[in-house]
């Protein structure tokens, strides 16, 4: 079973993402921000879905930190962005993000992006 980490400071978004992914047969690790995510990296992670605006450590910094780790160098990292964050999207890509999901999104949109990058 593939393991996906969802990183978001919004508990409801985390809950919705985790719920959707678990229903689709993935195992899910939840983290509330970048710092929390890095401390929860113990198990093998196949993919990361991260929000950009978060306290303590934001999404861009998290992506950079993950890409620096050998285990996470090539895994898909998808960022959650909003329409108004075109600039941030580019920052994320430059940091090594694989793709993005535009908020607000529906569960099926989330899954289609996951299936696009994780096989």
């Amino acid at each position: 079973m593939k393991t996906i980490m969802t990183v978001d400071d919004s508990a409801s978004v985390r809950q919705m993402v985790a719920f959707t992914l678990k229903n689709a047969g993935y195992s899910v690790i939840e983290a509330s921000d970048g710092k929390d995510a890095l401390t929860k990296l113990g198990a093998k992670i196949d993919m990361v879905i991260t929000d950009l605006n978060m306290p303590n450590m934001d999404g861009i910094s998290l992506i950079k930190a993950l890409r620096a780790l050998p285990a996470c160098k090539f895994i898909p990292i998808v960022m959650l962005t909003t329409e108004s964050q075109a600039g941030r999207k580019q920052e994320g890509k430059d940091a090594g993000a694989t793709g993005w999901i535009v908020k607000p999104f529906k569960p099926e949109q989330l899954l289609s992006v996951v299936q696009k990058v994780l096989r």
Binding site: D9, S10, A11, S12, V13, Q15, M16, F19, N53, M54, P55, R67, K73, F74, I75, P76, I77, L80, T82, E83, S84, K93, G96, A97, T98, G99, W100, K103, P104, F105, K116, V117, R119
Partner: protein, 700 residues
């Protein structure tokens, strides 16, 4: 969205609003603190994003505008002022009201919300222009493409570092293939020598030809995440091949692989452009290959377009009319043969030419007439599906019917007469072959049995197979049954294969108890009879515990056979060419030695023979030199002695009139080029009759 998510968000929103209030109060004391501005922005942002996701659209819309303003504050475009703070406090309260009155009548709040937003807009003031830019609608989606297949030329050249973004080029190729039928050409030219190779970089790039009903934007969407990490071009090639098939050079130039001048220089030689270009290193071989493939696809598509109108419409014609047409064509072919012979005798060049022209035409008419009668065997498969379903439910079995080769074509008459035989074979497999689900499980097989019904062309024949993965046939039981029926005696020794073939004997049934499925008076002997009447043969193989398979081999059509024409006395006969192995001269010396045993020595091998002259009781002297046609039948060889072998040619079969139908040993008649009639010999029958006769003689 489920209510649990909505409720979770409501709780979270309360926290966010509290956080918003604290941050606003702190900001009042320290307007320069960008950290506080960020906190406020983030809270608004989450309210907006999650609000929309969980169905709080009014809140999302409202907070969107507030967020936009705070984005400007964050970027230093707007100062933190008292009016701004006042408005934000109002906005926060407004959001809380919206949450609390979710679902209720909120008309009263809309007005106050609008006032607040107007205040924000006035504050943002000059920011209007950039705001409009944000809200600009995306380019209108291209009108829904019709369900028409188009072709795209895609060049996907990822940057070497593509892997470091967690993207895998392979996935994009898979996604493209999922859109339609794709031809993918990988370019390896840029892969460095091994010692310089960086395995973490991507050195390969691809040319893809995609035929798809998807739109260009759908094709581009596949590469959405890597637009900036690759060179991508998606070009529709439809327009280019509408009028004519483009030349290889044109395609290469269009693709930007080469300039027209380079082509000019290369064409100076005489060989094929593609190999010249590849060899001279102007273009990588892969590029040429990709362009050539495009050319051939374009050509195919053009051909398909040309022939499409004919294929599109069809006509129902009664088989009687077709039979009549086929008869007439038969006559025509015969007359044509006569004319050809007459023309040759006349020696007039003009007439010979005309006769040849007529032959070409009548051959075409014959072929197309026969092809009209051809139907795909798949048209009968659906009834079998129903049969399997019905039998399964009445017998409590679970069976998958897998069919292949549905488009294999067969003469309608053959198909019609075959239908019952196939039904019987399927019934056998279902009733006797496939075990009950529980038995299968006990035997370590899947509960569900599989019956394969497959058809394919093999040379001039059609091969139809019924294969099941059931319990197979037990030779011991077959033998016991045959003994019981008196078909063999205790002492009869048979190979395993011969034992299995006993079930083709009349009166044989492998069913231990007659069920309501089998036991309808149709046995394998009837099936064998039907197949043989269609000039086909049937074979059986079986492995105990693994299943059995029945193979039926049939000629494509009943109307024409490839025949070997022979003469005995002044009479011509036709033998089916498929059975003929070779023709040799009869060695008189051997004949005299073995004359009583009717055996000919063929390169050291003894082959029994039948003399047609004797068989038909021809009067007159035996010619000095006779010829033997060696026939192969069921793995055995039999000779047929004739006066003279004329040669092979296609023969249109005319059925014998009712008076002659009971005659054994003839399968039909045909008319020769000189107008004389030849009988078509049913050599299998003749050989069997001869064997029976010999058997009776030896008993006496």
């Amino acid at each position: 969205m489920e209510d649990i998510h909505r409720q979770a968000f409501r709780d979270e929103a309360a926290d966010l609003l509290a956080e918003l209030e604290t941050a606003l109060l702190e900001l009042e004391d320290a307007p320069q603190d960008s950290g506080l501005v960020n906190r406020i922005f983030r809270a608004m942002h989450t309210l907006k994003g999650s609000g929309a996701m969980f169905g709080f659209d009014d809140i999302a819309q409202f907070t969107h505008e507030v967020e936009t303003v705070f984005d400007k504050v964050r970027d230093g475009l707007l100062p933190v002022t008292r009016p701004l703070l006042d408005l934000t406090f109002q906005a926060k309260d407004h959001v809380r009201l919206l949450f609390e009155h979710d679902g209720g009548d909120i008309t009263a709040y809309i007005a106050s919300g609008a006032t607040i937003l107007e205040g924000f807009r006035a504050l943002a003031g000059e920011g209007e222009a950039s705001g409009a830019e944000h809200g600009a609608p995306a380019a209108p989606a291209p009108a829904q493409e019709a369900e028409r297949e188009r072709m795209f030329r895609i060049r996907f050249k990822p940057r070497p570092g593509i892997y470091s973004t967690g993207n895998n080029p392979e996935y994009f190729l898979e996604d493209i293939k999922a859109l339609g039928s794709a031809k993918v050409f990988a370019h390896f030219e840029d892969v460095p020598p091994l010692r310089e190779l960086d395995p973490q970089s991507c050195h390969i790039w691809w040319d893809i030809l995609l035929a798809t009903t998807s739109s260009e934007s759908a094709v581009r969407d596949v590469f959405m995440f890597v637009e900036d990490e690759c060179d991508l071009s998606v070009t529709p090639v439809e327009a280019a091949c509408e009028e004519k098939v483009p030349m290889l050079g044109e395609i290469l130039v269009e693709r930007g692989d080469i300039s027209p001048e380079q082509i000019e220089r290369a064409v100076a030689g005489q060989r094929r452009l593609g190999s010249i270009l590849a060899e001279s290193g102007v273009v990588p071989a892969k590029s040429v290959e990709a362009a050539l493939a495009e050319q051939s696809i374009a050509r195919d598509r053009q051909d398909a377009r040309k022939s499409a109108p004919e294929a599109a419409s069809s006509l129902r014609v009664s088989t009687d009319k077709l039979d009549r047409l086929q008869d007439l064509v038969g006559e025509l072919v015969i007359v044509q043969a006569q004319i050809k012979q007459a023309a040759a005798l006349l020696g007039n060049e003009a007439v010979v030419n005309l006769a040849e022209e007529l032959e070409r035409l009548s051959d075409d008419i014959r072929d197309s007439t026969l092809s009209i009668r051809m139907l795909p065997i798949g048209s009968t498969f659906s009834t079998y599906r129903r049969l399997v379903r019905d039998l399964c439910s009445s017998l409590g079995k679970e069976i998958d019917l897998v069919t292949t080769g549905e488009d294999t074509e067969l003469d309608k008459t053959v198909l019609d007469r075959l239908a019952d035989a196939l039904i019987h074979l399927l019934r056998n497999s279902i009733d006797h072959g496939i075990e009950l689900p529980a038995e299968r499980e006990a035997a370590g097989k899947p509960r569900k049995g599989t019956i394969r019904l497959q058809a394919e062309h093999s040379g001039g024949d059609v091969v139809i197979e019924v294969i099941d993965d059931g319990k197979g046939i037990d030779p011991a039981k077959v033998r016991a049954k045959a003994l019981e029926r008196g078909l063999i005696t205790e002492h009869t020794e048979l190979s395993q294969q011969k034992t299995l073939e006993l079930i083709f004997l009349p009166g044989f049934s492998t069913a231990e108890a007659v069920s309501n499925v089998s036991g309808r008076g149709v046995g394998m002997d009837v099936v064998k009879g039907v197949v043989e009447s269609l000039r086909g043969n049937i074979t059986l193989s079986s492995e105990q515990g693994r299943g059995s398979s029945v193979t039926v081999r049939l000629p494509l059509t009943l109307a024409i056979i490839d025949g070997l024409q022979v003469r005995v006395g002044d009479q011509g006969y036709v033998l089916p060419l498929e059975l003929v192995e070779e023709c040799v001269e009869l060695d008189k010396q051997n004949l005299e030695v073995c004359t009583r045993k009717r055996i000919v020595n063929l390169r050291g091998q003894v082959v029994p023979y039948i003399s047609l002259r004797e068989w038909f009781c021809f009067p007159g002297p035996v010619p000095a030199i006779e010829q033997v046609v060696i026939l192969g039948m069921n793995g055995q060889r039999v000779g047929l002695v004739v006066d003279h072998v004329v040669g092979e040619h296609q023969t249109v079969i005319k059925s014998l009139g009712p008076v002659f139908r009971k005659l054994d040993g003839f399968s039909g008649a045909t008319i020769q080029g000189d107008g004389s009639m030849s009988l078509i010999l049913d050599v299998k029958r003749i050989v069997n009759m001869a064997l029976e006769q010999a058997g009776r003689e030896s008993e006496r």
